[in-house]
Amino acid sequence: MFKLELDRVTKRYPARGMHRGSILSVDQVSLQIHQNQSIALVGESGSGKTTIARLVTRLERPSSGLIRVNQQRLEDHSGLPRLVQMIFQDPFSSLNPHYPIGYSLERPAELLHRISRREAAARAAEALTLVGLTPAENYLDKHAHQLSGGQRQRVNIARALVARPQLIVADEPTSMLDVSVGLGILNLLLDLKERSEISYLFITHNLAAARYVSERIVVLYRGIVVEDGPSFDVINHPLHPYTQLLVESTPDAHKALPRITVPDAQEMVGASDAGCPFRARCPHRRAQCEEPVALQQREKREVRCVLYDH
């Protein structure tokens, strides 16, 4: 059974420009992804979502903490690309413009699974069919520039699939696409999950899309997990004040425009201090918020807020 675990993973980047020290992008994040599970990471820009995606795919190494995949340390894992694949946000820059689509799909299959060119070609055609680009022969010889954004994102998904991964990390896969096209991509991801044992780490700023694709939602704020629970519960009964604000602010044609009075977040500068990172904007702020708060267990959920610190 596939399992990926993050155990108190922290990532710091050196600060650039006028700032000294380092920027804490991900702060002691722990989470688990099981086989055939879809987990959504939700948060605003700078909350550390993409950094977690890059840590899980080993594009970055953690500053501290441990990532394990199937009980093995991620950094020692020799076959990681056969287990974990990524779909990037920008379908216009994530395919090599020089090569035909067929090459972009066959090469990873050949290299990762040491199969013949003929077998790789068959696998590429199969993957294109799976993502709805049919008949596959019509696409194998095309170049990226001959495809629409939605088609390119389907090719990216096909490229991930030829590796036969257990986990696909999808970093805002629809944010650069039109809504109707984006919905087609989300439906494709759901179809693949129903037909196989694949798991997703789905990264989005859109709470409604998170619920659509994932059973579990993890809410990040400035690099820390503030809430984690089943999607339905997190959206219908948000516990953390930030999650409450996020739910209230998410556009919903059935609701009146909310009256949002919290101040805007200021740009993140330097490492954060020990207290709750949301306290400057929080309507429930109190003295204890200046101190670090532990994640509290509440049935199937976790929340990091002094309101629930009993």
């Binding site: 605003e44 996020l246 739910v247 609701k255």
Partner: protein, 325 residues
């Protein structure tokens, strides 16, 4: 009937393509925006919504041409004005907040100076008095008046966006045009700004033409929404009517393309196919090829615009039939 704030009549915008092709980005569009109304336009990339907005304020790219039509602001036909007259109308009567405007502030001037520049270009007033007004404008959009002394880089994205909205309101325009005003911002900041715009609009009574691809947001903000597809409106109705009873199949499909936040979670069908090539004249309905409810007539005969109610529009052969979806 009182004179509407904005009346667009038969407006068409063309762009030249390669090999002598002409792309008809906006096709014979007519609609009105009443005084004190927030009118929203939704549609997907390439439907012509931005071209329509820019044609109204006459800020299209030089390659584009207004092939036909009139734009009346009260009784003034903007299409007949010379460039000097248009310059005085812009900002004073109609102001635009273009897409990603928050990144268009000058990095080397203080926020206050940039607002003052706009005011003194149009009015004979002193810079000091204009600066007082800039402070008041910032307060109006929910920013601290002291921020007149700040440079853009000292403000967050949301604060800069509020500042450009304050700038657009500097000369009390009767119409504010906003093209994707909150698209690059996170949802909490977006909701705050939208609420503020609505509050200021209710207080001062100007009209707003707001464009976004985010239909749920638009329905929260706008009194009336127009859905654009392939260069034209397919439906215009008050937001509550759109929510309860969208008549055009594309309106329904677009509404469904946004998964709901609350309520039961179920699969929504995506819209298959792609929009038509706007350089080719179509015989039938522009949506017919992708429409799940199309009948034979839809492919051969263009539907006529019908008005199911006052200030409403629907362009579909089957608009009177109850939805089969």
């Amino acid at each position: 009937m009182p004179t509407p704030c904005l009346r667009v009549v038969g407006l068409s915008v063309d762009y030249p393509g390669s090999a002598g092709k002409v792309y008809h980005a906006v096709q014979n569009v007519s609609f009105t925006v009443h005084h004190g109304e927030i009118f929203g336009i939704a549609g997907e990339s390439g439907c012509g919504k931005s071209s329509l907005a820019h044609a109204i304020v006459r800020l299209l790219k030089p390659s584009a041409t207004v092939a036909s039509g009139h734009v009346y602001l009260d009784d003034l036909d903007l299409m007949t004005l010379n460039e000097a007259m248009m310059r005085s109308v812009r900002w004073e009567k109609v102001a635009i907040v273009p897409q990603s405007a928050m990144n268009n502030l000058s990095p080397v001037l203080r926020i206050g100076a940039q607002i003052v520049d706009a005011i003194v270009a149009h009015e004979s007033t002193s810079r000091n008095r204009a600066l007082d007004r800039a402070r008041e404008l910032l307060r109006r959009v929910g920013l601290a008046p002291e921020l007149v002394a700040s440079y853009p880089h000292q403000l967050s994205g949301g604060m800069r966006q509020r500042a450009v909205i304050a700038m657009a309101l500097a000369l009390n325009p009767q119409l504010l045009v906003m093209d994707e005003p909150t698209t690059a911002l996170d949802v909490v900041v977006q909701a705050g700004i939208m609420h503020q715009i609505k509050q200021v609009q209710r207080e001062f009574g100007f009209s707003v033409l707001v464009i976004t691809h985010d239909l749920p947001l638009l329905m929260q903000v706008a009194d009336r929404v127009g859905i654009m597809y392939a260069g034209s409106f397919v439906e215009i109705v008050p937001s509550p009517v759109m929510l309860e009873h969208p008549r055009h199949p594309y309106s329904r499909a677009l509404m469904q393309a946004f998964p709901p936040l609350l309520g039961p979670s179920r699969r929504a069908p995506s819209i298959e196919g792609t929009p038509p090539d706007l350089s080719i004249a179509l015989k039938g309905c522009s949506f017919a090829a992708r429409c799940p409810e199309a009948v034979a007539m839809c492919g051969v005969k263009a539907p006529v615009a019908m008005s199911p109610g006052q200030d409403q529009l629907v362009v579909c052969h089957r608009w009177e039939e109850p939805s089969r979806v």
